[in-house]
């Protein structure tokens, strides 16, 4: 509780202590004074002033600023009205009740804000810099790119960087929700916001604090609540019309029956006051955004970044989900699995040409070819014949890398043809490396390789040399993720891939995906998504899951773009609406559950608040409700709605 809130609490308690005896005495008839001095009035004014003076003060002050119709003013009118008709006890009770409610409301909002900010407490406070052999603590903001920082055991990593020395395990749960620690060593990239294990790490920073992952994530979550859901906008508009409407109705209620029907003025004024008290839509205006805020927070805890409340809303209506294959459903780790050269060509030759042709490309296929080539060269230099070396063996890796770099001097020019492959000039000769489409385009005869996987065909000077098969593994959790999505209510699953028919269909069958489209150029993917969008019903939404870098246009086109974050790849965070920080597609169905629950709670609140308010309005107009019910319909409803909204934080 803040100081102001504590203050208020004391005032309430004191008021109650004074008021309750007065209330009892009045009931027992002990307050019937027959004097000219309004003793009762004065007696009840004591608690009234103690508990309500600031409301009256604020009402007057706000009117002088031009703000007439606010809650303070309405409460004044309502209680003055009660005082005016001699119901002193009720006036005090209402004011007291109102203040209790307001206090509770402020407390609940504070608590919600606190629990959300506690969950997002991933902000590192300092960084350690080595100066003259001593460690100095500095503000992360003051560290420049390229500085070496030291991260001790158990500390939170302050900036993105590359490990220069040391090995350790890193806890990424703050960002990804994953509790399994990741091993890092020399040359590993590490991300800010994670917590270091027991090893000492020296890290060279690659980004400034403001650009580091943790700062960006915090900003995203904070800003997420400014992208309002449709429901939120509706509430805001509703609130704008609701208040004037109820106030007018109150005026009508106070004026019409007495003037037109000759009814007693006092009675109808009281009913009008009840209207005025209920005219504040605070319950909705606070609880709805709070609910969405909680939902976004719950998703962050899972390691899923939702960039806006509106996306939560759309996610809950998702009926069709479209997956990109490579990197999303498959690991995206390409490994050369078979080399099939033509008769007069050797495996080593074929691999070398392929690696050189793809030397400057960043495509995963190129990566696999280059890796295989580097390994083979490391073996040759070392004179051993072992296969399956991994890069932990840094010496060999360095040798292989050097060999590749040297050989790249033979490559004069390369041209990448999207969706087809690469054309390069090696040793003065034109070499084509790519898929079947490239061979056909160049009019080169080739022997179709039926192996499942990506096949790279090679030709030199128009002569076919052979093919290399590169295989990608399906993510082990993909199958379960898809079936969970179907259970969550997704009626259509689609897979899009630039890969060829056999590969695509094999993967789709393995994962029980309903529709698959293969051999797609990047532009085709957008078209397919457009077609699918056109087939959707009124309230049905389409989500696309991809890896951000290649799929930016499709991510933008879909109703929901979900990207693999790969621990914060900038391209993914930019392009998508929802980012899976650890590439775990199982989280998609979990987030859908959060989205649904959030929407459910928000709708519960709206229905509850409106029903209660409407009921009390009607009863009040008919004379069957009094101030108590009015204050409950305003403040009580608000508190209940806020507490209900806090449940969105707890969804797992």
């Amino acid at each position: 509780m803040t100081k102001k809130q504590k203050n208020m609490l004391y005032r309430i308690i004191i008021t109650a202590i004074i008021y309750i005896p007065l209330f009892v005495m009045e009931h027992m008839g002990k307050l019937e004074f027959q004097t000219a001095i309004p003793v009762n009035f004065l007696l009840f004014m004591i608690p009234y002033i103690i508990v309500g003076w600031d409301i009256v003060y604020r009402a007057v002050r706000n009117i002088s600023h031009g703000q007439v119709f606010d809650e303070n003013f309405l409460m004044c009118i309502a209680t003055f009205g009660a005082l005016g008709v001699g119901e002193y006890s009720e006036a005090v009770a209402v004011m007291l009740f109102y203040q209790i409610g307001e206090l509770f409301q402020g407390y609940a909002v504070g608590k919600s804000r606190q629990s959300i900010s506690e969950m997002m407490d991933i902000c590192p406070e300092y960084a350690n810099i080595e100066e003259d052999g001593q460690l100095k603590q500095v503000d992360p903001d003051n560290v420049s790119v390229g500085d070496i920082i030291v991260i001790k055991a158990g500390e939170r990593i302050p900036l993105d960087g590359v490990v220069v020395s040391g090995t350790s395990f890193v806890d990424t749960s703050a960002l990804t929700g994953e509790s399994v620690p990741r091993k890092v060593g020399e040359g590993s990239e590490i991300i800010s916001g994670c917590v270091n294990g027991s090893g000492l790490l020296r890290v060279k920073t690659t980004k400034e604090f403001d650009d580091s992952t943790v700062a960006k994530i915090l900003e995203l979550v904070e800003n997420a609540s400014s992208k309002k859901a449709k429901v939120e906008n509706f509430i805001t508009k509703f609130a704008k019309y609701y208040t004037p409407f109820v106030v007018c109705a109150a005026v009508v209620l106070a004026a019409l029956p007495p003037l037109v029907l000759g009814q007693p003025f006092g009675e109808w004024l009281k009913r009008a006051c009840i209207f005025l008290v209920i005219s504040c839509p605070c319950a909705l205006v606070i609880s709805v955004p709070l609910g969405f805020f909680g939902g976004i927070g719950a998703a962050s805890r899972l390691g899923v970044l939702v960039k806006g409340s509106n996306y939560l809303e759309v996610l809950s209506e998702m009926k069709t989900i479209v997956f990109d294959k490579t990197g999303t459903l498959t690991k995206g780790e390409f490994v050369v699995s078979k080399i099939l050269p033509c008769e007069n060509v050797s495996e080593a030759e074929l691999l070398e040409l392929a690696a050189l042709a793809e030397g400057y490309s960043d495509h995963p296929v190129a990566g696999a070819l280059k890796a295989a080539y580097m390994e083979s060269r490391a073996e040759v230099v070392n004179g051993t014949g072992e296969n399956g070396l991994t890069c932990v063996d840094t010496d060999r890796a360095a040798e292989g890398k050097a060999a590749l770099e040297l050989s790249m001097e033979r490559v004069a020019d390369t041209r990448e043809i999207p969706g087809h492959g690469i054309e390069a000039v090696i040793d003065g000769k034109i070499v084509c490396a790519g898929n079947a489409k490239l061979m056909e385009k160049e009019g080169i005869w080739y022997e179709t390789n039926p192996e499942p996987g990506t096949v790279v065909y090679l030709a030199k000077e128009g002569l076919y040399l052979g093919s290399i098969v590169i295989a990608d593994t399906v993510k082990p959790e993909a199958k379960r993720a898809i079936s969970q999505l179907k259970q969550s209510g997704v009626s259509q699953t689609v897979m899009l891939t630039g890969d060829r028919k056999e590969v695509g269909e094999a993967v789709a069958a393995q994962l029980h995906i309903d529709q698959v489209y293969t051999d797609l150029l990047p532009g085709d993917k957008v078209e397919k998504v457009e077609n699918l969008l056109g087939q959707l019903g009124e309230k049905e939404r389409l989500g696309f899951v991809g890896d951000g870098i290649n799929d930016a246009p499709v991510l933008g086109r879909a109703d929901i773009g979900i990207a693999m974050g790969s621990m914060g790849s900038d391209a993914a965070i930019e392009a998508a609406d929802i980012v899976l920080m650890d590439d775990d597609i199982m989280k998609i169905s979990a987030v859908m559950r959060i989205a649904r629950k959030t929407l459910q709670i928000v709708k519960q609140n709206i229905v509850f608040a409106l029903l209660v308010k409407a009921a009390v309005l009607i009863l009040g107009a008919l004379g069957m409700a009094n101030m108590w019910e009015a204050v409950f319909a305003d403040v009580g409803v608000s508190v209940i709605a806020i507490l209900n909204s806090m449940r969105t934080l707890k969804v797992k």
Partner: protein, 72 residues
């Protein structure tokens, strides 16, 4: 120039909305967002007159909710 300010004692969601609308109407303000949840004010306004505009913003906010303070 786009700048963020922390707000203290922003207790009424309605007030936050009123403030946002009022700030957006100030001459020189391109965009504004008041987050009731995060108690933050984000403003995008003319570089040259930024300080002047901020004074106007403070005035406007005080009119809506006098208790609320913007930490400049």
């Amino acid at each position: 120039m786009k700048k963020k300010f922390k707000m203290v004692d922003l207790d009424c969601a309605n007030c936050a909305a009123k403030m946002e609308n009022a700030i957006k109407k100030i001459d020189g303000v391109t965009d504004a967002n008041v987050s009731f949840m995060a108690q933050k004010l984000t403003i995008e306004a003319d570089d040259a007159r930024f300080d002047e505009i901020m004074q106007e913003v403070v005035k406007v906010c005080k009119k809506v909710e006098p208790e609320c303070e913007i930490q400049l």
